[in-house]
């Protein structure tokens, strides 16, 4: 089958009109080095639709005021918008209550909150915490810091050559010393989707709580925290077509109730004297200080936008793009795909035998193509695959087949220069 016919076959499977969606994202019209922008760095951050930009602007233009305090009209309006964003998030992941939804600065802060608050209270000397080889640094370092402080042990579940967690190894690793499990739902470097439900169920047989880092999964897979039964779930707004600087920690209410506050300050208290402080109820207990109000509103808007398109439709679209791109690069000379799991999100990481990822990145930039090159904040994982870094193309709801053709053409040019 020739390339054109192939493209047509796949395009026929698209569930929505990509051109129409692209029109919602103003940045996609810009030029880079006199070439149309081809944005394939969605695993780093996604672009924002006009709807999100407008909702964020609207807050600053029409209702900027601090929340949960003032009796004046603007403060009440801002509070209402902020709190309704919380309900949008709650419904999005099907949490039991809105008091289980805590606004943070992002996935990193969400994980740090749990490590710091739950971890400091419950982890003792000799205890073990389990993570996997494919964790982002943000799901390694907080636990490492906790383990050092408590003289606990961080254990790492190995992965196979395809980049999948070896479940049997996890089964062997988990024991009476295990006190916490924290794993990534979908890997930012490999694209692998982990069998988190199986991991959670196994951990729960021993009453071990599980945190799921859903930063990369949340814009691709429908997440139902009650069905998953995870104890904590962390994700960021900016990978969900929302603003940077805002993220979510979901926690089961019984855990959150029992946990000490993470930071002290305003909003997280109900009564303060110089002798003692009574903490506010959930979720405010964990939200000290004025939050990113516009960010939270923007995140709510992003979820509304996504739900209008349909998360399943977006996932279907990205899967088709991944399949097309994987086939298109597979005959390039000396190219090795890093991460060949059966179940993947739209992430294509690769390494050329003779061209360093940084050179790939610079060359592609001149074709208008934005990809990520480097270790993707997963240095132990790079070591596992014996590469210093990879080039990573990651797909979003607005990417098209034509854009993948531009990527592949760029890669071919690079091979000519370095060949």
């Amino acid at each position: 089958m020739d390339m054109k016919a192939d493209t047509a076959v796949i395009e026929n499977k698209f569930l929505y009109d990509v051109k129409k969606i692209r029109n919602d994202f103003p940045i996609l019209n810009i030029m880079v080095h006199d070439k149309p922008l081809v944005y394939l760095d969605n695993a780093a951050t996604t672009q924002k639709p006009q709807y999100v930009i407008d909702k964020t602007n609207n807050y600053y233009e029409k209702m900027n005021a601090n929340i949960h305090r003032g009796v004046h009209a603007l403060s009440q309006e801002a509070t209402e918008e902020f709190e309704s964003a919380r309900i949008i998030v709650k419904n999005f992941i099907n949490a039991l209550g809105k008091n289980e939804i805590i606004f943070t600065r992002g996935t990193t802060e969400s994980i740090n909150l749990v490590a710091s608050s739950y971890g400091r209270k419950n982890i003792k000397e000799g205890d073990e915490i389990i993570i996997s080889t494919m964790e982002h640094h943000s799901n390694i370092v907080p636990w490492q810091m906790l383990c050092t402080e408590k003289k606990a042990k961080l254990r790492v579940v190995p992965i196979n050559d395809e980049g999948e967690v070896i479940f049997e190894e996890f089964e062997k690793m988990i024991n009476e010393k295990t006190k916490f499990v924290s794993v990534v739902y979908a890997s930012n470097s490999l694209g692998t989707v982990n069998p988190v439900k199986k991991i959670i169920d196994l951990a729960h047989q021993r009453n071990i709580p599980v945190l799921i880092d859903a930063a990369q999964a949340v814009n691709h897979l429908k997440i139902d925290v009650q069905q998953l039964d995870c104890d904590f779930l962390a994700f960021s707004g900016h990978k969900l077509y929302g603003p940077t600087g805002i993220g979510i920690l979901y926690g089961k209410v019984n855990h959150l109730e029992a946990m000490p506050p993470y930071q002290g300050g305003g909003d997280m208290i109900s009564k303060v004297t110089f002798e003692e402080t009574t903490y506010n109820e959930l979720p405010h207990k964990f939200e000290a200080g004025t939050p990113d109000i516009a960010g939270a509103i923007g995140l709510g808007a992003a979820i509304e936008y996504i739900e209008k398109i349909g998360l399943e439709n977006i996932a279907h679209h990205e899967n088709l793009l991944l399949e097309y791109a994987t086939n298109a690069v597979s005959d390039l000379k000396g190219l090795r795909i890093i991460g060949t799991a059966k179940n993947k999100i739209g992430v294509l990481s690769f390494h050329f035998e003779k061209v360093h990822p940084h050179d790939v990145g610079t060359f592609l930039d001149f074709e208008g193509v934005a990809i990520r090159t480097g270790h993707h904040c997963t240095q132990p994982l790079m070591k596992r695959f014996g590469v210093p870094a990879t080039s990573r193309a990651s797909f979003g709801m607005y990417n098209s087949m034509e854009e993948i053709d531009v990527l592949v053409k760029g890669l071919k040019k690079i091979l000519e220069v370095f060949g």
Binding site: H356, H358, D359, T362, F366, G374, M382, P388, F418
Partner: protein, 152 residues
């Protein structure tokens, strides 16, 4: 290829990337240092043999990195062999000025010989560290500082 891109990836750089000179280990070097760029994972080891007269008898490198960092290490080792430590330090300073744009169109650039090919790096702030990693590591090795050079 785009003009600006061609300035960065000159033929000399591509050649040195493909067949780097002095890419080997020196057993028992008098001076050694390890350089690392955590941003991209590049790492370079620099080995030197400096004799009692302060002349660099031998210099080599090993490690992994992009075309710019590899070519930079290759050209640097070719250039410094036979130079005194003081001369090496002077060349380092000039090179550093070249890639960080302090020289501008200063004619002194001619003194740098082949190293002038790195002038194109100035247009790529994200890649300056790639070009200078080997040099910073070499200076550390000369000063026999044991700590890792980290450029980010």
């Amino acid at each position: 290829m785009d003009q600006e891109l061609r300035e960065l990836y000159q033929q000399v750089i591509l050649d040195h990337n493909k067949s780097p000179r002095n890419f080997r280990l020196i057993e028992h070097p008098t001076n050694f240092a390890e350089g690392y760029n955590p941003l991209c994972g590049d790492n370079i080891n620099i080995f030197l043999n400096v004799n009692e007269a302060g002349i660099i008898d031998d210099i080599s490198f090993q490690g992994s990195g992009c075309a710019i960092s590899k070519a930079s290490a290759s050209l640097m080792t070719s250039m410094l062999k036979g130079k005194t430590v003081t001369e090496a330090e002077k060349i380092f300073e000039k090179f550093h000025e070249l890639v960080t744009d302090k020289l501008g169109d200063n004619p002194e650039i001619d003194d740098l010989g082949k190293l002038a090919v790195f002038a194109g790096v100035r247009e790529f702030p994200a890649r300056v560290k790639c070009a200078s990693l080997a040099w910073h590591t070499m200076i550390n090795a000369l000063h026999n500082k044991n700590e890792k050079v980290v450029t980010e």
